[in-house]
């Protein structure tokens, strides 16, 4: 199962890097399920919401996707990012944890669904500059397209893309620093 996951995910991410949005959404959805399973197994003593780790990992994967070599295995790369973000989440809450690399081998993608609760990312989103915040919120929470968002706010499409890109980078950066 891991072998099949590996090949399909690598294929999806390659297509995504070439600009295929559908492939990217599929890649991120499946990656989210894998990281969710990983985070839930690792977070046993509470204090950290696994879904926050999932979201931070997805953002980090997004802003750092140029660090993946397109012919290298993608799962070790995903797990390395997830592990870094998990350790970081504990560190921010004043705990130190060691996560063994050996545990990755028995980790499989189980389609685990997310729980609904208040997310750290919402707080970070609210801290953005108003222009970026409204663009990111329109595209993410309201699910609008770039074109629709541009019409709503009377902006050019390019301006919307730039605001979205900068907003996402700012969110990722805040996660990394706080």
């Amino acid at each position: 199962m891991n072998g099949r996951d590996e090949n399909e995910l690598a294929m999806l991410l390659r297509a995504a890097i070439a600009g295929d949005e559908k492939a990217y959404a599929a890649f991120l959805g499946r990656t989210a399920a894998i990281v969710r399973g990983f985070a839930r197994r690792k977070i046993v003593q509470g204090g950290v919401d696994p879904e926050d780790v999932v979201q931070e990992t997805l953002l980090a994967i997004h802003t750092k996707r140029h660090t993946w070599i397109t012919d290298a295995p993608v799962l070790p790369w995903i797990y390395a990012i997830a592990r870094f973000k998990l350790i970081d989440a504990f560190r921010k809450r004043g705990r130190r944890v060691e996560i063994e690399i050996g545990d990755i081998a028995e980790t499989h993608a189980q389609p685990e669904s997310e729980t609904v609760s208040d997310r750290e990312i919402s707080r970070v989103l609210n801290g953005l500059a108003p222009g970026q915040r409204s663009v990111v919120a329109a595209i993410s929470i309201e699910g609008r397209s770039i074109v629709e968002t541009a019409e709503t706010f009377g902006m050019t499409e390019t301006a919307v893309r730039v605001a979205l890109h900068r907003g996402l980078r700012a969110i990722a950066k805040k996660f990394g620093r706080s």
Binding site: A16, I17, G19, D20, E21, Y24, A25, L28, G29, A32, E51, V54, Q55, L58, L59, A60, H62, T63, K64, R65, H66, T67, W68, I69, A72, P73, P76, W77, I78, Y79, A80, I81, R83, F84, D88, E114, V116, R119, I121, S122, L125, V136, A137, I139, S140, I141, G143, S145, I146, R161, L164, H165, L168, A172, G176, R177
Partner: protein, 209 residues
Amino acid sequence: MQTNDLINALKADAATRAMPLGRVWWIAIAAATLAAVIAFFLLIGPRPDIGQAAHTGRFLFKFIGTLTLTISLLRALSRPGAAITRAAYWLVLAPALVGAAVIAELFVVPAGQWRVVWWGTNVYVCLTFIPLIGLVPLAVMLAALRHGAPSRPGLAGAVAGLLAGGIAATVYAAHCTDDSPLFVATWYSIAIAGLVALGTILGRRVARW
């Protein structure tokens, strides 16, 4: 914001591209070397007999070999999930080479002279200028690390310091008239260690992501 909402936003941003990490490292290495050379000429300049100092040539060659190993380790450290142990093992080569040179020197130089060549004439210059020449290269390496995604920012920062120190020491060697391995093994190492310590501290702070 739920995870699916986040995916909506990330998907819409799929077309943006960052510079590939491989190219960033090439630029960083070129910029760091250039910065070290400029700092060298501004601060101290080459020794007067540089033309005939064949020893320096041999010496440079060894340094450049080791630097290549450090670069590959640093590049691996900037990619999540990359295997680093093999590159790390190769780093043992540098201390091994220096160690062998020290032993050879102990046989060649009479015991009464050991202290003299060990202390040399340039200790304070060496300890001052290697770290100084290495400062900008270190900053360049840390910037490249920020562009990457080091899962161990402290360690990556330390290796960045090692590389910056290596570049600085290579350049500095063209000024230094103390060619004895006893001198190099002691004072160059201490000077480079300073940059490694600085790199570790800064790496933890700036290379986090």
